[in-house]
């Protein structure tokens, strides 16, 4: 007994300080400080709120990404770029600037993008395609669908009510989008940490066979996770429409790889079964602040990209290392 305790590694003095979520939040604050020093006003309250607004869109796409990655078996969703664009397009065309169509438009987006996500899930489970392949192919199909629907000329307009909800302050200057994000984040965290559904997702991601023996409907759950990612992508597109007012084709493309990076920076393992949505939130905020800082500092695009890439590598070095084979 004594020998056993003696052989245990000593616990680090500040275990939380090595946790990816703390690192991401601390780095975010550090970057805000650097930004404020170099360009006064960077960390002004209004500026922080607009940073968080931009981060919210990435954070919502990355929420779906978190779900499929947590579910394991190399889970990943490259089609989110497509579902975001499709969500914005469908929402804009159903609404056509009319408040009355706000809810029907949201339901339409959830339905279509949910079906697309479920098809991803079917391909991954029943045909057993690698998620990267299935969702990459689906991304191509959605891009075709976008061309078919728009015929090259995107149309559709946001309802004034949606514009108000996203951009107008609800209280203390906070735009409506942020409470929406906070609500979704709280709900998702609650589901993941406090419900049997959440436990089932972690079980699925860490050991699928054991999860099945424990009574988890693994196939249905995995299909559900991909459907969830599709729906969250669609909702992001719906909300983006409220931010931009009109529809742009390909508005979702910019989120594909950053959504994965946000998840990883937030400490969720790409191997599945470990991580949290709070981490993804931290990752999305950190990425957004970093990009905004590089834009603010008036560095030319080339230098901005190089610094951004180098920072990602440093972040990975900080806590992304895998176990050695000799382990």
């Amino acid at each position: 007994m004594i020998g056993l305790t003696a052989s245990l590694p000593t616990a680090p003095r500040f275990p939380w300080a090595r946790h990816p979520i703390s690192i991401a939040f601390l780095l975010s604050i550090l970057l805000l400080g650097v930004g404020e020093t170099l360009s006064p006003g960077f960390a002004a309250p209004g500026q922080i709120l607009s940073l968080l607004t931009v981060a919210a869109f990435l954070g919502l796409v990355a929420a779906g990404q978190t779900l499929v990655i947590l579910g394991g078996r190399e889970g990943i969703d490259l089609s989110v770029g497509g579902t975001v664009s499709l969500g914005a397009l469908i929402a804009g065309n159903l609404m056509q600037g009319s408040d009355a169509m706000l809810l029907p438009a949201l339901l339409g987006v959830i339905l279509v993008c949910g079906i697309i996500g479920a098809i991803n899930g079917l391909g991954v489970t029943l045909v057993r395609l690698p998620p990267l392949v299935m969702t990459l192919g689906m991304y191509g199909v959605i891009q075709g669908l976008l061309v078919l629907l728009t015929r090259g000329r995107p149309s559709g307009k946001a309802a004034p009510l949606l514009l108000d909800l996203i951009t107008a302050p609800v209280f203390a200057g906070i735009p409506g989008l942020l409470p929406v994000w906070a609500l979704i984040a709280a709900l998702l965290t609650l589901i993941l940490t406090r419900t049997s559904l959440g436990y089932a997702i972690y079980a699925l991601g860490s050991n699928e066979l054991a999860a099945r023996f424990a009574g988890v409907p693994t196939v249905a759950l995995r299909i559900g996770l991909y459907a969830g990612s599709g729906i969250l992508g669609g909702i992001t597109g719906f909300l983006l429409l409220g931010y931009t007012g009109t529809v742009f084709v390909g508005v979702g493309d910019q989120y594909v790889l950053p959504s994965i990076i946000a998840v990883v920076i937030g400490g969720t393992s790409l191997a599945g079964g470990a991580g949290s949505y709070l981490g993804t939130v931290a990752g999305a905020i950190l990425l957004t602040i970093l990009q905004s800082l590089l834009t603010t500092l008036a560095i030319d695009p080339a230098g901005r990209q190089m610094i951004f890439g180098a920072t990602l590598l440093v972040l990975m070095l900080l806590y992304g290392r895998r176990q050695a084979l000799r382990g």
């Binding site: 045909v127 395609l129 392949v133 191509g140 075709g144 061309v147 990209q305 610094i307 890439g309 290392r321």
Partner: protein, 310 residues
């Protein structure tokens, strides 16, 4: 058994079927000039996909490969200008191009294999870094190369088109590599890295070499693109990253590593090109073309994966 030892046979069959479909909608397909122009537009993707195959075979992935193409492209075009444009200058620039490509690949390899970082995120990061470097070297598309660069590239050498020389040499290289110890090691590392390590294989070195190899192929693809476009473009390579992955999956290489081969990727990349042709010549309504292409590619990806698994 035949399929197990030759994972590219199924991909070849799919390519031939697609060629038949292509012939049906484009009767002039097999005219030498048409075939040659097809081949020259497919060649860059074929080469990139072959290179990406080695990385995937050893269980990794390279999302920076498109950025490496851009980087080599703008570097070589700038270097030709800087060296003065003589024959020696061209040769030196080409050598530098390969060095840059292989070096960039090796950097990926060191981060992923030696420092043990997650390949998807890491190569995404290095990709942004390389793309930024390309932008720094050449902020806007432009620059010219001497006329004889693209005259040579489009012309014949010893009676055989240069494009065909490049393709044949790449294929010979891949076949030769497959017969060496290195080829076998790549498969072993991808199949089970732990087992390969315990067998005493230099797992880290194999993975770094495979990344370097992919960088070398990307450099060759970038040189071909210079031969075709005769100019530099810092955003040239972007679309090749995901296409190369599609091509190698179509060619029967498993993304989990351990099975497949670069010859399959050759046919996979050709299949993607042929699908483009079929869609174009089938006179489909414009707004349907891209959807049908997406569905065909998705279906082909599914078939490729199922064949690779068996």
């Amino acid at each position: 058994m035949i399929l197990y030892r030759r994972p590219w046979v199924a991909a070849l069959a799919v390519t031939l079927l697609l060629l038949l479909a292509n012939l049906a909608v484009q009767p002039s397909l097999f005219k030498p000039a048409i075939m040659l122009s097809n081949l020259s537009s497919w060649l860059p993707l074929i080469l990139v996909a072959m290179g990406q195959t080695y990385v995937v075979l050893s269980g990794d992935i390279d999302l920076s490969i498109g950025a490496i193409i851009s980087l080599v492209n703008v570097s070589v075009v700038s270097l030709i200008g800087a060296f003065g444009g003589g024959d020696g200058a061209l040769l030196l620039a080409i050598v530098c191009g390969f060095a840059i490509g292989i070096g960039a690949g090796a950097i990926n390899g060191v981060f992923v294999a030696a420092l043990r970082l997650q390949p998807i995120v890491t190569t995404f990061g290095t990709g942004i870094l390389f793309a930024g470097l390309a932008l720094a070297i050449m902020p806007d598309a432009g620059g010219t190369v001497p006329d004889r660069v693209f005259e040579t590239y489009a012309g014949p050498l010893l009676g055989v088109p240069v494009i065909l020389w490049i393709l044949s040499l790449a294929v010979l290289f891949v076949i030769a590599l497959g017969r060496t110890r290195f080829g076998l090691r790549a498969l072993a590392v991808g199949g089970d890295a732990q087992a390969a390590f315990q067998t005493g294989l230099p797992v880290t070195r194999v993975r770094i070499l495979n990344y370097g190899l992919a960088g070398g192929f990307a450099a060759l693809a970038a040189l071909c693109l210079i031969g075709e476009t005769a100019t530099g473009d810092p955003l040239l390579g972007g679309s090749y990253t995901l296409s190369s992955i599609s091509a190698l999956v179509l060619g029967g290489t498993a993304l989990s590593g351990g099975t497949g081969g670069a010859i399959g990727s050759l046919f996979g990349a050709m299949s993607l090109g042929i699908i483009n042709n079929v869609i174009f010549f089938a006179r489909l309504p414009f707004e349907l073309q891209s959807l049908i292409q997406g569905i065909i590619v998705l279906a082909a990806l599914a078939v490729g994966t199922l064949v690779a698994r068996r």
